[in-house]
């Protein structure tokens, strides 16, 4: 049934979806602050601090408004080390996707973690934000995290 292979035509193609997003007021303010290298979480009605901020509490659906200033320091919880980054990762060196909990926040979030190798990572290690050189008001204004061991008590 199958046609001879050489008869088939093949072509590479790329599809582009040139979306523009409207982040809304809560995420929009958070991103505006991020562009200024300021980091905010948001306080839920039970007092816990969620990071990154959402306009609602994903656990209760209550709307949230109370921003809480945070620092650029946190803790590494767990991670996956990527030896061979994919083109879409836009990172040329091996790195980790990691769950990181910022000091003062009650939940972790996903971002990039940079280190020379996976052996340099450990559960609970202190990490700090590495800012992107060019910031435009996006989550990628945080380029990733690097170790802060030895820099804080």
């Amino acid at each position: 049934m199958t046609e001879p292979r050489e008869n088939l035509l093949e072509a590479d193609f790329e599809l582009g979806f040139t979306y523009t997003r409207s982040p809304g007021v809560i995420i929009g303010k958070f991103l505006a602050a991020l562009q200024q290298q300021q980091i905010y979480g948001i306080r839920a009605n039970d007092g816990t601090v969620l990071f990154p901020p959402t306009e609602y509490d994903p656990r209760t659906a209550e709307s949230l408004h109370d921003f809480v200033p945070l620092t650029d320091l946190g803790r590494l919880l767990y991670w996956t080390w990527i030896d061979q980054p994919r083109d879409h990762h836009q990172i040329s060196q091996p790195f980790a996707f990691a769950m990181i909990q910022l000091d003062g926040a009650d939940v972790p979030f996903l971002h990039r973690m940079f280190a020379d190798s996976a052996e340099h990572l450990s559960v609970g290690m202190a990490v700090k934000v590495q800012w992107a050189e060019q910031r435009r008001g996006a989550i990628t204004d945080i380029h990733g995290f690097v170790t802060a061991e030895g820099e804080q008590s």
Partner: protein, 353 residues
């Protein structure tokens, strides 16, 4: 509740790359095979529902052209979900419950080899905080695996054991892409691709299609096969943000199972087909569903043996149906999942009639 039965199931071979056939060409013979198994024609089908995702092969509105494979003249009542076809099955089941229809043909298809599936999957993440980082599906599963290891409940060796079992059981599944005898000692020597996951911990890129037919009990075809009844079915979703969830657990699966058990009045299963595209997820689900050693898990080999994106959940129903057809066992649990790191889970309890 109306009693709804699975009466036929067909699946194309789960190949790494189907170079020649397009989706419609893959689908046509599979539909024909399922109809033949049920001794039905399209005239006997009240409703058609499919699951697929255009981003996977980059064909805009490919789900519309797939209708060409149905011979839908005169026009059929038709619907589509941009989800695994297990949710197309759920929509069809609901439609039978409403009394609007008595039979449905459900299909799912995907040609993942055409695109870059792990990257495509990252775009189901929230567009502000996650998608801009392009966390691909393998990396997200790696994070979840690492969360599971951190609990101390399992080791990387346990992940490998899941793979060994999958490949061994898949030896009896002629459509499996990966099968055979492998040793866990050998597997854990392989390098990581997204630690702690190795290539074998991940489902293989697969091209293919599957078709399943359900009917109300009153409309059972005079088929040669025994029907398999859906006695209970429920699906539950968790928060999207990974930090809000406990990634080493699957609370939504536990809840869906409790609801499905309530409907079914069945507590113990002979077998379970779990849609766990990454080996540690089999262990998370096994715990969440409290499956003991008496339950035969993934007798088909499961998604690690072949994974038709957008149909692998429907295939869990189909493979359970096949297993109940060909043996003396009576009950099965079919599971389907959607979203990153088991965000959304469906549980069905099936019983041979």
């Amino acid at each position: 509740m109306r009693e709804v039965a699975i009466v036929a199931y067909a699946q194309s071979p789960q190949v790494r790359q189907e170079k020649v056939l397009n989706e419609v060409e893959i689908l046509m013979p599979v539909i024909e095979e399922a109809l033949a198994e049920a001794a039905m024609t399209m005239d006997d089908i009240d409703f058609v529902c499919s699951g697929s995702c255009d981003y996977i092969a980059g064909g805009a509105f490919s789900f519309v052209s797939a209708v060409d494979a149905l011979g839908a003249t005169p026009s059929k009542m038709e619907s589509h979900v941009e989800m695994d076809a297990a949710w197309a099955l759920y929509e069809s089941w609901l439609k039978i419950q409403t009394g609007e229809i008595s039979s449905a043909l459900i299909y799912g298809f995907g040609k993942s080899s055409v695109g870059e599936l792990p990257d495509v999957m990252s775009q189901q993440c929230d567009p502000y905080y996650l998608a801009p980082l392009w966390p691909d599906s393998i990396s997200l599963a790696g994070i979840q695996a690492s969360a599971l290891l951190a609990t101390g409940r399992y080791t990387e060796r346990d992940f490998a054991d899941v793979v060994v079992e999958s490949r061994r059981k898949a030896k009896t599944n002629p459509n499996a892409q990966l099968s055979g005898d492998v040793s866990a000692d050998h597997l854990i020597e392989a390098p990581y691709i997204a630690s702690p996951l190795r290539r074998h911990d991940c489902c293989p890129i697969t091209d293919g299609a599957s078709v399943l037919i359900i009917t109300d009990k009153s409309a059972l075809p005079k088929a040669k096969t025994k029907p398999v009844y859906i006695r209970g079915i429920d699906h539950r979703m968790e928060a999207h943000q990974l930090g809000i969830r406990t990634l080493s657990e699957s609370k939504s699966s536990t809840l869906a199972l409790a609801n499905a058990k309530d409907q079914a009045g069945i507590e113990q299963f002979d077998l379970a087909e779990l849609y766990a595209p990454f080996s540690p997820q089999t262990l998370i689900l096994k715990d969440a569903l409290a499956l003991n050693d008496k339950v035969d898990i993934n007798p088909s080999g499961g998604p690690l043996a072949g994974h038709i994106m957008m149909s692998a959940g429907l295939d869990r129903f189909g493979m359970s149906f096949r297993a109940l057809q060909s043996s003396t066992v009576k009950t099965a649990l079919a599971h389907a999942t959607s979203g990153p790191c088991l965000q959304h889970n469906m549980i069905a309890i099936l019983e041979a009639g």
